[in-house]
């Protein structure tokens, strides 16, 4: 970065000399402005959720009132109804069965592939990377029928593998893209020094690169968890019965509880809470990890 800031250099000294009081006043009014801007955006981001959370405790008749009014009585039974009546317990279970292996296996596979692409040069590397990125670019609505046929040929239809394996493959495409950038940004001096000290490839990987990659890995966990947890279309087509995950279960409620929005709201809360908790826990390292993944994309 060697650009020079043009213009307004001539009065730099005079600005600097102006009274400290004015400066601190300006600073605090600027801070205030910053807060006002952030609060406005925060409201836009969150008010819909406040409304949906309040809705989950209301009766259908109260819906016509102001959405931000408190429920007359807090109806926790909407949650029981969603959990038991609408089979959300089963869908939740299914979501967990799918998301855990998808995230863990994809992390493993994309760390390995990201390492290969980031640290090695080998014949065909660019072509292979392009082929992998293709998975992120093809609209899935068309691919789903051949995928469905494939699952039949492999005898995996109506098993959780039919939901897990394609999502691992898709996550692998994004994870490779992400981890490759991470490894490309590793300080080469450190690695060179370690190699000179007689460290093996595995030693370098485990003792130097892996610890340095943890932010990128953590942010990848959050992203993959979020996308897998929310996946809708693949599950709609591939899963039936209690294998369906929460988003599909919620969508299928449309008919059943069409006149009972509060139960749907309660279901929505069950759907988004786990992702929200995960993000809230990891937001700091998540953001730190976004650097690693985004550099040299």
């Amino acid at each position: 970065m060697s650009r020079v800031v043009p213009g307004s250099t001539q009065n730099g000294a005079t600005t600097f000399a102006s009274s400290a009081r004015a400066a601190s006043l300006r600073r605090s009014s600027r801070t205030l402005l910053t807060y006002v801007i952030l609060v406005v955006f925060l409201l836009i981001a969150l008010l819909p959720f406040v409304a949906i959370i309040l809705t989950a405790f209301k009766t259908p008749l109260e819906l016509r009132d102001n959405p931000f009014s408190l429920p007359q009585v807090w109806h926790f039974e909407n949650f029981t109804e969603a959990w038991e009546g609408a089979r959300f317990a089963a869908y939740f279970r299914s979501s967990v069965i799918v998301v855990i292996p998808v995230v863990i296996i994809s992390m493993l596979l994309s760390t390995m592939s990201g390492f290969a692409f980031g640290m090695y040069r080998f014949p065909g590397d660019n072509i292979l990377l392009l082929v992998i990125l293709l998975g992120l670019m093809v609209p899935f609505e068309a691919v789903i029928i051949p995928l469905w046929q494939l699952m039949g040929d492999l005898g995996l239809r109506n098993t959780y593998w039919a939901l897990i394996l394609p999502q691992i493959a898709l996550s692998f495409a994004f994870g490779t893209f992400w981890m490759r950038a991470n490894f490309k940004n590793m300080p080469t001096e450190l690695i060179d020094a370690a190699v000179v000290d007689g460290c093996t490839t595995w030693g370098v990987l485990w003792r130097i690169l892996f610890p340095l990659s943890r932010p990128a890995l953590l942010s990848l966990v959050v992203l993959l968890f979020m996308w897998t947890w929310n996946e809708f279309f693949l599950i709609l087509i591939m899963a039936s019965g209690d294998q369906r995950t929460l988003p599909v279960g919620l969508a299928l409620l449309r008919g059943r509880y069409s006149a009972n929005v509060p139960v749907m709201a309660a279901g929505s809360i069950m759907l988004f809470t786990p992702v929200l908790i995960l993000y809230a826990f990891f937001q700091r390292s998540f953001i730190r990890g976004m650097i690693a993944g985004a550099l040299k994309g």
Binding site: V96, R157, I237, R256, Y257, A259, F281
Partner: protein, 427 residues
């Protein structure tokens, strides 16, 4: 710091795993059934019938999946080609649905079972024709039978009796009388006709009702069954499109109908008595009775605009129960269909405020109830050969086209021209 976070991650996963519980074991014979009975009110009714069936067939378990009709239509083609797919499924009529399934040999012809169980006498042969498809799947209306239905459908007008009373209105006997009511209702600050068209399919019912009112059964039959010389460009189509637009411009439909969904907003408007009438399908009777009772709301047919004795009205039989061609238990599946379409089941459906396809014993009707109105309306159109069709059976773009008409993006004549062009472009 990092270690702590990884630990946290582990804890989150562990917490998520708490609801994991072992699943139930499998039984000897499982009959897989897919239906569209998704509404809350319908669950008990279906479960009663299933309990009967399981009691009569020891060792048989029914495994049921319910989907909204649109999801059912999306998922069935693949499910029916799968060995683990449904043995019995409710099949939507029309060339694009039942026709395509028959063409791909996914459905079992039911003629033999229909003879064995005498399904033919359940309702009129004209209605069985709707569940019949020619061998190559290219046309419906003739050929083998692939479905048996248990629900009848009439798309007509629900109305609030006390609002009519308050405004001094009575059930209209002519189209002009009906039209004359609309400004009177609007003046009294009620929405004359509830209509929520955000999802496009309600327009097929609402505009479709006006279209049928201006058409003869022959004209619409030709379009739907693809008969020789069929055309959408007939006088009634033009007149009905113009009338529909006129009513929209006059504000006779819900304010902001274009952004209103049917199931929550439209239903809510009518149930909250903000409107006097709702042009909708008879299957809405269950939720209406659940929130307003048996006697507050009545049901009448939209009178014919061309002076027909029996008002030509959208309706028919609901999705038909069909059998997967590769089912291992077709006989059991047929027995199941027999039960679900029996007069016992019809009585139960009726008790639960639904309109059964099998004729209801008149002695159980209570004058002045919504269900009695529904049965009378169905008897009128089915005995008068005036049961109409849903346009999207052959014109998949009809919903979007009607939105264009309603939104004023095209004139009524352009609308008819576009529909005709779509129709002519069909394979």
């Amino acid at each position: 710091m990092m270690k702590k976070q990884l630990l946290m991650l582990f804890v989150v996963f562990a917490l998520l795993a708490i609801p994991l519980l072992p699943t139930a074991a499998q039984d000897q014979v499982t009959l897989v059934v897919w239906d569209n009975y998704v509404r809350d009110a319908e669950q008990a009714m279906i479960e009663t019938l299933h309990a009967q069936f399981e009691a009569a067939h020891p060792g048989v378990t029914i495994q049921r999946e319910s989907y909204e009709t649109s999801d059912l239509t999306t998922l069935l083609p693949r499910a029916l080609s799968d060995a683990g797919g449904p043995d019995v499924a409710m099949i939507n009529q029309g060339v694009a649905n039942m026709g395509a399934l028959v063409a791909a040999n996914l459905l079992l012809p039911l003629n033999d079972y229909a003879d064995q169980y005498d399904w033919w006498s359940r309702y009129g042969m004209g209605l069985h024709a709707r569940n019949s498809v020619v061998a190559d799947g290219s046309r419906i209306g003739s050929g083998d039978l692939y479905g048996v239905s248990n629900i009848a459908e009439v798309v007509a007008i629900f109305y609030h009796k006390d609002v009519f009373e308050e405004l001094g209105l009575s059930i209209p006997t002519t189209f002009d009388e009906f039209e004359a009511m609309l400004p009177a209702i609007k003046e009294a600050d009620y929405t004359p006709i509830t209509f929520g068209n955000l999802d496009a399919w309600p327009g097929i019912h609402t505009y479709g009702a006006v279209l049928h009112s201006y058409s003869t059964p022959q004209q619409i039959d030709d379009v739907i069954f693809g008969n020789e010389g069929a055309t959408f460009d007939f006088e009634g189509a033009h007149l009905s499109a113009a009338k529909f637009k006129e009513w929209i411009d006059a504000g006779y439909f819900s304010n902001g109908f274009e952004g209103m969904d049917n199931d929550v907003a439209a239903f809510g408007e009518f149930a909250n008595k903000e409107s006097a009438m709702w042009l909708a399908g008879s299957w809405n009777s269950g939720p209406i009775i659940a929130s307003l009772g048996e006697e507050a709301v009545g049901f009448f047919l939209l009178p014919s605009a061309i002076g027909a004795e029996t008002p030509y009205t959208i309706g028919g039989i609901g999705l038909g129960y069909g059998i997967r061609a590769t089912s291992e238990n077709p006989d059991l599946a047929a027995e199941y269909i027999d039960l679900m379409t029996s007069s016992d089941a019809a009585a139960l459906l009726f008790e639960n405020d639904y309109l059964p396809a099998v004729a209801v014993d008149p002695s159980v009707l209570t004058e002045g109830t919504l269900t009695a109105d529904l049965v009378n309306a169905w008897n009128t159109i089915s005995s008068g050969n005036a049961v109409g069709h849903y346009l999207d059976w052959t014109l998949p773009d009809a919903g979007a086209r009607i939105q264009e008409l309603a939104g004023g993006v095209v004139t009524p004549d352009e609308f008819v021209a576009n529909m005709e062009a779509d129709y002519m472009a069909l394979p």
